[in-house]
Amino acid sequence: MSIRLEQLAKSFGGQPVVKPTSLEVRDGELFVLLGASGSGKSTVLRMVAGLTAPDSGTIRLHERDVTHLPPQERGIGFVFQNYSIFRHMSVGENIEFPLKIRKVPPAERARRREELLDRVGLGGFGNRYAHQLSGGQQQRVALARALVHEPSVLLLDEPFGALDVKIRSQLRRNLREVQQQLGVTAILVTHDQEEGFELADRIGLMERGELLEVGEPEALYARPHTLFGATFLGAGTVLVGRAREGAARIGPLALPIPSEVEHEEDERVRVLVRPEQVEISAAPPERGVRLLGQGTIVERNFLGALRRVRVRMPPIAGTRQAAPAVYGEEGLLIDAVLPAEADMGGPDVWVSLRGWHILAPPQPRLLVCDLPDQGSPAPFPLARALQAPFNAKVSLLAVAGSADGVEPLRAALTERTVAGNLPDAEAVVRRGDPAAEIAAEQRQSLYDFTLFQFPTGGRVEVLMELLESLAAPLLVAQGGPASFRRILICTAVGEPGKADVRVGGWLARRLGAEVTLLHVLPEGAGAAPWVNAHLNAGLATLRALEVPGRSTLRPARTPLQGILAEAAEGGYDLIVLGRHAPQPGERSIRHDVTLQILADSTKSVLIVPPDE
């Protein structure tokens, strides 16, 4: 291994810029770190070069630990985006500079200088000065200068960022040639995916300080694991359907899920369709083709050899679009590319799929709210109990009242993750109104569950606001030890939805718990047929999830009394409630069933919003 990074991490001003990152780059490989600006890719490169000191982790170059060595002693070459050619030196002097520093004799220096000038295609330019060269020529000089002392590792930071498109592709070819001839291991940082595809032996995809995916360009394009990978590399449509009997259901289609993609029955599945995998036809396609449906062309862009077409299709029940995200769009937008000369007829077309890729299910994410000032410190035991069985990524969120409070709070929060025995948790500090900031964090990072401690001293304002804007399941913790063996799912409150059964069942499966489905009957009345049908459907869902389940009917004067009585008698550890839209006049504990259950019971409660 030429380059080996282990758990390399860096924060600036308490803000993590590079989260613990490990990476191995093979001998002679050209590795491209790809990511948007601010993703931390340049910081990784600067740490490898020794220009930025990491907070933790190790850097090995050719098995030598260089973590604490200055850049001069690392044996690297570095190419900056702005070239940084020394302007008072000629091109030749610039290239000889590293050799002069190393006290190489003049004759040898001249020989190496000429060799490198030839390699980068600048033979005869040795006596020029930077201001006499074009940007592309300056970058060639920078490359020659970075290679002349035969470094073991070449690092390039957006080397072609300041150049125009035509010169870029020329320089890329030249760089690839030189790098392969010299056999030097290289890391190149760029935000340009085309550059990544063209140059890389392997690509590492970075986002928000995390190395999300590593792979060969073609594999990353065809089979990304993450939604970010699917959308950042190349265009495409990501549709979300449900898994049924080993296939992803997208409208009328059942797309087989390959065995290597983990999935659970009835769980959401994300399907990536690249534009070139979409077939557009004016007439209904032949049988045997995977027909998605009919739509209308809303956009056509001529791209030279190809034409990009965007088709809007009416909404399909149970199918949602994750990308491209267009605000206020109810239907599905499918992107396709066709040969420019292809005639796809009028605006109404048939859309079918030639290929697709099923994304791996995302790692579950838990948002743990830490608001000790509001009487709701983070429920650490509960977070720990969920982290391991879910293999979840935990974020600990605190909200500061003022800008000055952010830094001390972040430091305190980081200590609390350690004290709470969640050392891998990420500390997130936001500023503003607690409920609004929790909701915003949920929206931004798509957490699967939000954990919130039921507040002491009756300070339920934040909780009430959270319930009002509920977008993801909210687990309100209270009571004793956090182990879940028996889960009560109440289908009696709110609209009879499937979301509560599905989320509760999913939780039970991961935790190895058993589930009771409860329906509360008005006293003296019998069960209506739809109640049984509803409970049976729920039990079927649980069976599909391989969760032991039973149903129970309980007569009570009010649903609330029924739930509280069952919860008290059955020895349940967790109550799952569906959340309906709040009714007018419910803005108090007395009128909100959810809050009343929380107040009158000592159990933790999971509140599940209905399906979108």
Binding site: G50, L51, P71, F78, S84, F86, I101
Partner: protein, 274 residues
């Protein structure tokens, strides 16, 4: 649009003539007068006035002070410029203004304040007196005053060049294997060459002609702290016009030489062309 058309050239004759007419008594004639009066008594008389012990001392003392002022401020000014251009800190602007203040303050005021601080009854002077140190009315005092008064010139010449250098300039040198000193010696310093040169000349020239602060702190002691400008003033006051003029002419000639060097380099001072 101005000057190139032949018709306009003839029209320019009147305003240009007027300008020369105004400048004549203001600048050109006084300069000429210095040389005219210096050589009025013939070369022999000039030589006599020039070679008196006092005149020789004053000129040599002035050159010596100017030399040390230039050398010391070249180092101090470059250092200050590098600190100011490298780091971003709170109070950066007030500090930059304070450092440039000596240009704005009348030099006599500078002399007065130095005297008040370092003089026998001054704050520091009082502390130094028991040690037998008395910086005022000594060559060291003159040097101190000159360093203070000319400090901003070096800074002003070097800092723009440093600001213009790319942030990655130093980093590039490090990644190529150069240590901190090598980076300064081979990469940073050469880039500052033009600014260093013009800054040093400016400092030298100003020190050579400095009067206000010098007259306060030197005590104007002949053969001890009397600089050339002070000597000229003293001789004039005593009615020795020939003596005064001989030194004045030499001083003027020296200034011309420096001025022409500066002119030649002012084009290249802003950027580090060869």
């Amino acid at each position: 649009m101005i000057g190139n058309a032949p018709g306009q050239r003839s029209r320019a004759a009147i305003p240009v003539g007027l300008l020369v007419l105004v400048l004549l008594p203001l600048i050109l004639m006084p300069i000429a007068a210095v040389f005219v009066f210096a050589l009025k008594g013939g070369p022999g008389e000039f030589w006599r006035a020039f070679t008196t012990e006092d005149a020789q001392f004053a000129l040599r003392f002035s050159l010596l002070i100017a030399f040390f002022t230039a050398v010391i401020n070249a180092v101090l000014g470059t250092w200050a410029a590098s600190v100011l251009s490298k780091y971003r800190f709170r109070g950066e602007r007030p500090l930059a203004i304070a450092i440039n203040l000596p240009v704005a303050i009348p030099t006599v005021v500078v002399g007065t304040s130095l005297l008040l601080l370092w003089g026998p009854i001054g704050l520091f002077g009082k502390m130094l007196e028991p040690l037998g140190l008395q910086p005022m009315f000594t060559p060291a005092g003159v040097l101190l005053a000159h360093l203070f008064v000319t400090f901003p010139y070096m800074l002003g010449s070097v800092k723009p060049l440093l600001d213009e250098l790319e942030v990655t300039y130093e980093e590039a040198a490090y990644t190529l294997g150069a240590g901190k000193w090598q980076t300064f010696r081979y990469v940073i310093l050469p880039a500052l060459r033009g600014g260093l040169f013009s800054g040093t000349l400016l400092t030298f020239a100003h020190s050579l002609g400095e009067f206000g602060a010098t007259v306060m702190v030197s005590g104007n002691l002949r053969l001890r702290t009397q600089t050339a400008p002070l000597y000229i003033f003293a001789q004039f006051e005593a009615g020795h016009v020939a003596e005064a003029n001989a030194v004045a002419a030499v001083l003027a000639a020296l200034s011309f030489v420096i001025f022409f060097f500066l002119l030649r380099y002012s084009g290249g001072a802003g950027n580090a062309k060869r």
